[in-house]
């Protein structure tokens, strides 16, 4: 149990900055997921917390103690690696118990603790095997056991599920969640998979280009994305984005070809904005319905429980997620309708969120 305080942390490789000043607070016992595309600096940030990467500027404190100059072993962190990083020449038991061996724990106590961890992870019958003889999911569990046995204050996960197949990933996801509930150690989990992020996180940190874009609960991040990047990155299929200009009675979209009547935007007339709308918030209606945008159907993706309809809106791609059993023919015209409060406005220049309508969820506590 430990809180983590990150203040103005930067990382430069040679002269190239990869993390530009990050400030974050993780509460004790919290499960934080850092989400971002590859190369956004999320792994680097995690490795700086672990002590595997030097901190170029700023401080990281665990439980109020600045750990910048501490060796990984002195920080009380344990880490689960993407490729598991099991020692190939050691048995499962030796892999799990290695940190205790290094720490000089007597072998009787060590064996007992290995047993205890193996019981939790259902690895008892595999203790004598070598990692080579294990399946991906089993290796993953050994890697978690190796982290657990030290009873660390902080658990760090570096994309630990990305090497597993889809089914196993879902299973391990819930196991990690259960494990966290059981151990309630502060956990930081790095991933580029938004489903993983949404399902695991108490709090979500979305990073892009070495900066933190948004911090909030998964629901907050989904319903009130703080920037255009977060809006399009979180949610599948991605949020539709249309460029537009504010007019007297609403918006003109897509180079003035479409008009949209929106009341009380409060934005200056002539301001350039990007308007986002989630595919789930769009309804398909008969073409020609008043207030609906007409679009041509391109493609339909069947998902079983629902389907995604890709349409063409004067050259701009647009998608609609629907659970209705509608089957518009590709090439046919449909009308698109959505509620005003489902629109998200972003500044065309900065990409930042413009608060136009009343907030539908409370302001996220940063």
């Amino acid at each position: 149990m430990a809180s983590i305080t990150i203040r103005g942390v930067k990382k430069n490789y040679a002269k190239t900055p990869v993390v530009h000043g990050v400030d974050l607070d993780f509460a004790s016992g919290e499960f934080v997921v850092i989400l971002g595309p590859s190369g956004c600096g999320k792994s680097t940030l995690l490795r700086m917390i672990a002590g595997l990467e030097e901190i170029s500027d700023g401080t990281i404190a665990i439980d109020g103690v600045v750990v910048n100059k501490l060796e990984p072993r002195e920080r009380g962190c344990a880490m689960v690696f993407q490729n598991y990083a099991l020692y190939p020449h050691m048995s499962v038991a030796q892999n799990i118990g290695y940190s205790l061996k290094v720490a000089g724990v007597p072998s009787a106590e060590r064996a007992q603790r290995i047993q205890a961890v193996a019981r939790v992870l259902e690895l008892e019958h595999l203790l004598d095997r070598k990692p080579m003889a294990l399946s991906g999911g089993q290796r993953q569990r050994v890697a978690m056991g190796r982290a657990m046995i030290r009873e660390p204050k902080v658990f760090l996960f570096d994309e630990p599920l990305s090497n597993l197949d889809a089914k196993l990933r879902v299973q391990m996801r819930s196991e990690i969640r259960k494990l966290h509930r059981r151990l309630s150690a502060t956990s930081v989990f790095v991933t580029h998979d938004q489903v993983e992020a949404m399902t695991l996180a108490d709090r979500l940190v979305v990073m892009n280009g070495g900066r933190v874009e948004q911090v909030g609960t998964p629901a907050e991040v989904y319903s009130r994305p703080a920037s255009r990047f977060v809006a399009t990155f979180v949610g599948a299929p991605a949020m539709n984005m249309l460029e537009g200009t504010v007019t007297l009675d609403g918006l003109s979209l897509l180079g003035d070809s479409r008009k949209l009547n929106v009341s009380r935007t409060g934005l200056a007339v002539g301001a350039k904005v990007a308007v986002g709308i989630r595919p789930e918030a769009v309804r398909m209606v008969a073409p020609g319905t008043a207030g609906a945008l007409a679009a041509t159907v391109d493609l339909i993706e069947e998902l079983g429980a629902g389907r995604v309809v890709y349409v063409d809106l004067d050259g701009a791609p647009f998608s609609i997620a629907t659970s209705e059993t509608v089957h518009p023919e590709p090439g046919s015209t449909v009308g698109l309708q959505f509620a005003e409060q489902d629109l998200h406005f972003f500044s065309a220049e900065t990409g930042g969120r413009l608060d136009v309508f009343k907030a539908s969820v409370p302001e996220p506590a940063l």
Binding site: L52, P72, R73, C77, A78, F81, A85, L86, H89, S99
Partner: protein
């Protein structure tokens, strides 16, 4: 592309067989010659049917050249060189691959360049150093006037001397450094995933702990390969042992074989010489047979 047709199969086997004969024929002739008596071995052409005096000749060769202690000497030296090379090159490669310090690559290339300076090239300076290991220090002290100063102050003349001629250390140490070994280890260490190193750091293992607990066990195939090659190489050393062992008690089996070779005017006892050769060939052969499995794995495959 692998083609399998009966004709090609036959041809490849034929080529293999010819190669095999070329490799083995000289040894067969040595073994046959070692089984003849004095008269038969000097027949022209020598009979290629084995004679009946094999064990007699072996015994004569063993006693004439006093091979027992010589083989032991050879073994100590070859084992020492092989073990030394395996340890030293593992350590140097560990330092070069896993630590960041200025001049790291320069040091690596300096080690690499020594490949171009085998013992035969630097044999005179090496001999001088082994004759008196402290000679260079003496020279430095003389040059800087330090020994003059000490003599003036204390009245004692400085004369450093530590000779290694006729000793196992003298035989082994100059042969222990190896660029090949360092390079072999370096290439292997580079294939070890960084995550293993990081996992060990997270587990609290320091550098030496990581080296001993993780790297060495992983590189045991490498060690076997390097150890085998170096054992053979050291066993077959001729020039260096010949040069620095004047004392019979430190003579090597390979150099002592010359005692069995008939002198001009002596009886042409080639059967004894061949028998001695067979004996001296045996230990490396045993090492290769025992180590073969590891040896091949170490050279071709990376475990993973």
């Amino acid at each position: 592309m692998v083609e399998r047709t009966p004709i090609l199969n036959f041809l490849t086997h034929l080529i293999l067989f010819v190669g095999f004969v070329f490799c083995v024929a000289p040894f067969a002739i040595v073994a046959i010659a070692a089984s003849h008596n004095l008269k038969d071995v000097n027949d022209v052409p020598m009979s290629l049917l084995p004679g009946s005096d094999f064990w007699v000749n072996i015994k004569t060769a063993w006693t004439t050249a006093d091979l027992g202690p010589k083989l032991l000497n050879s073994f100590i030296m070859a084992f020492g060189v092989a073990a030394g090379k395996v340890i030293i090159s593992a350590l140097t490669a560990f330092s070069i691959v896993y630590f960041r310090y200025p001049g790291r690559m320069l040091i690596f290339w300096l080690i690499f360049i020594t490949l171009m300076l085998p013992l035969e090239v630097r044999i005179v300076p090496t001999y001088a150093v082994v004759a008196n290991v402290l000679e260079p220090y003496q020279a430095i002290m003389d040059l800087t006037g330090l020994s003059w100063l000490i003599e003036k102050l204390s009245g004692m003349q400085v004369s450093l001397s530590l000779g290694l001629l006729n000793s196992y250390s003298g035989l082994i140490l100059p042969l222990v450094a190896t660029a090949t070994g360092t390079f072999l280890y370096r290439q292997f260490f580079l294939t070890v995933p960084d995550e293993l190193t990081e996992a060990a750091r997270m587990d609290g293992a320091g550098a030496m702990r990581f080296f001993v607990d993780i790297l060495l066990p992983l590189s045991r195939n490498n060690m076997a390969a390097l150890g085998t090659i170096m054992f053979l190489w050291a066993w077959n050393q001729y020039l260096w042992p010949l040069l620095i062992t004047t004392d019979q008690s430190h003579a090597m089996a390979v150099t002592e074989l010359k005692q069995l070779i008939p002198n001009v005017g002596g009886a042409p006892e080639w059967h004894i010489a061949m028998a001695g050769t067979l004996i001296v060939m045996l230990p490396p052969l045993i090492v290769v047979v025992l180590m073969q499995r590891w040896f091949v794995r170490g050279l071709i495959a990376t475990e993973k």
